[in-house]
Amino acid sequence: MSGFSTLFLKESLRFWKVGFQTIGAPVLTALLYLLIFSHALKNRISVYPDMEIDYLTFLVPGLAMMSLLQNAFANTSSSLAQSKMMGNIVFILLTPISHQALFAAYISAACVRGLLVALGVVIASMFFVNVPISNIFLILFFGICGGVILASLGLIAGIWAEKFDHIAAFQNFAILPMTFLSGVFYSVESLPPFWQMISHINPFFYLIDGFRAGFFGRPDAPIEVSICVVSMVSIFLSLGCFSLIRSGYKLRG
């Protein structure tokens, strides 16, 4: 086994061993959102009236993507912060694993967890609604990019954090608002022009919109723009995160 595959396997096993908490619980949370929001809002929010898509169906891809993003972030941030605070990060830092392998292993494992949760949300939702799939490649592209972006942010947060409060602050004051304000629960087209403009500054909007387009074939923003924005953000954050790892910032004294 190479350093990369070992670390990837270890990080994957780490969340798999507590799968009830890391996969089961987020799927259940997403289903509760589905249940509550659909009953509370189904007659008040109109989505894609020309396509005859009900609100319950509309919610599923957004909730799946939201769960993917939150869990990819949680995987890298909690793993790294916990290793740092417990001191067992030395078992990785003492080894010849390259910076690239370390980065890639953490990100890949986080993507796997995020995608598993998203898959769980979609499969569980299919018991209640019929979710169409228009373009599987778009779903995979935006799913993987979402995983990479949030896993990178999680690694950055994990490297920077000196206590779990820091991770919680990052999650509650950055990740959660950006996710909720990205069109998970509504179509951005239904917003007033000002809020539409604000939404278009949020990169999470393009992730959700592109991911949803993979299901319904109907994006709010041009799909080329979404692909471009999401690719650029993925590359930018990956490079930033990789530079931090290579510099040893807050990892090596």
Binding site: M1, S2, G3, S5, T6, L7, L9, K10, L13, R14, K17, V18, S83, M86, G87, N88, V90, F91, I92, L93, L94, T95, P96, I97, S98, G248, R252, G253
Partner: protein, 313 residues
């Protein structure tokens, strides 16, 4: 230089500060291959910082470090393959069993199918029964053994043990040293830091001492113990039958009366023992019992620490 004669560890002009605290000051020394080397010093002397610098866990301000000829910065992957470090802190990953921990550690070094060697280490460290037990369930001593096992899993030619027996029971300590001595006899270079000076005295062939981040002494253990050949005789004499005998402390040099009829006599070499006893008899004292006390590493350590200059941090 021929690879075979390169030292196992080469430390050249290493300095490291944390803010205004100078943890290591211009330290240079090397450890030849196959040596059992002891690095001693009081708390805060810079031992762990120096070890962390060797292991790549902290970045040097100045100087260079090579492990088996590989620079720990420019050729870090080769240097880390050659090095096994037992950290001072009792750290572990709570998600995995002992065997999983060791299998992952092997994988980080690119080693697959390492089960035979893992079994050998587990047996050598009396961990076989705990192989499939989660790390969280182990006692402190057991966790310490796993740390040693993790450092050995890739068969490194250089092993650094940073206070490996701190808080460990006597049985484990004995067991651990037997295992480490066996590895040393097989050719592994061992660098040990410990506060148990009797361990260093019995195991290490050479010793370096740090104080305030500075290397204040480096010498072979034998020379170190012989550099000051002073010894003492603790002498108990029978109650003199006569009252007119001169007190021993007034006649014999460097003699102190520590109790009634008990004397402590300082000698400058063990060759003086016989003549001193003769002098005592000639003074008509009858010897009841005698003990000799030689200087051990602890005395040498304390005298060196006392003698070396103080630095402000």
């Amino acid at each position: 230089m021929n690879d075979a004669v390169l030292p196992a560890l080469q430390i050249q002009g290493v300095s490291k500060s944390f803010g205004s605290v100078r943890a290591v000051r211009n330290v240079s020394f090397s450890v030849p291959r196959g040596e059992f080397f002891g690095l001693l010093g009081p708390n805060g002397a810079g031992k762990t910082t120096l070890i962390n610098s060797v292991a790549g866990l902290c970045r040097l301000d100045e100087g260079s470090i090579k492990v088996m000829g590989y620079d720990v910065l420019t050729d870090y992957q080769s240097a880390r393959r050659a090095l096994g470090v037992v950290p001072q802190e009792l750290v572990f990953d709570p998600f995995f069993t002992v065997r999983e921990t060791l299998t992952f550690q092997s994988g980080y070094f690119g080693i697959k199918n390492n089960d035979d060697w893992i079994d050998e280490i587990l047996a050598g460290l009396n961990l076989m029964e705990k192989a499939n037990v989660n790390m969280r369930s182990l006692s402190g001593g057991m966790k310490r053994r796993v740390l040693v096992a993790q450092a050995l899993v890739h068969r490194p030619p250089v092993i650094i043990l940073d206070e490996p027996t701190a808080g460990v029971d006597v049985d484990l300590r004995k067991n651990l040293w037997l295992f480490i001595q066996k590895l040393n006899e097989e050719g592994h270079t061992v660098v040990l830091t410990t506060h148990y000076l009797e361990e260093a005295e019995s195991l290490c062939s050479r010793i370096g001492m740090l104080k305030h981040g500075e290397l204040v002494m480096i010498e072979s253990t034998d020379h170190l113990l012989q550099r000051d050949k002073e010894c003492w005789i603790r002498l108990r004499v029978k109650e003199p039958a006569r009252t007119d005998l001169k007190p021993l402390e007034s006649v014999l040099p460097n003699t102190e009366c520590v109790d009634s009829n008990e004397y402590l006599i300082k000698l400058f070499s063990s060759a003086e023992i016989e003549s001193t006893l003769r002098d005592v008899r000639e003074l008509e004292y009858e010897i009841d019992s005698m003990e000799t006390e030689n200087e051990d590493l602890e005395d040498v350590f304390l005298s060196i620490m006392k003698a070396s200059p103080e630095h402000s941090q």
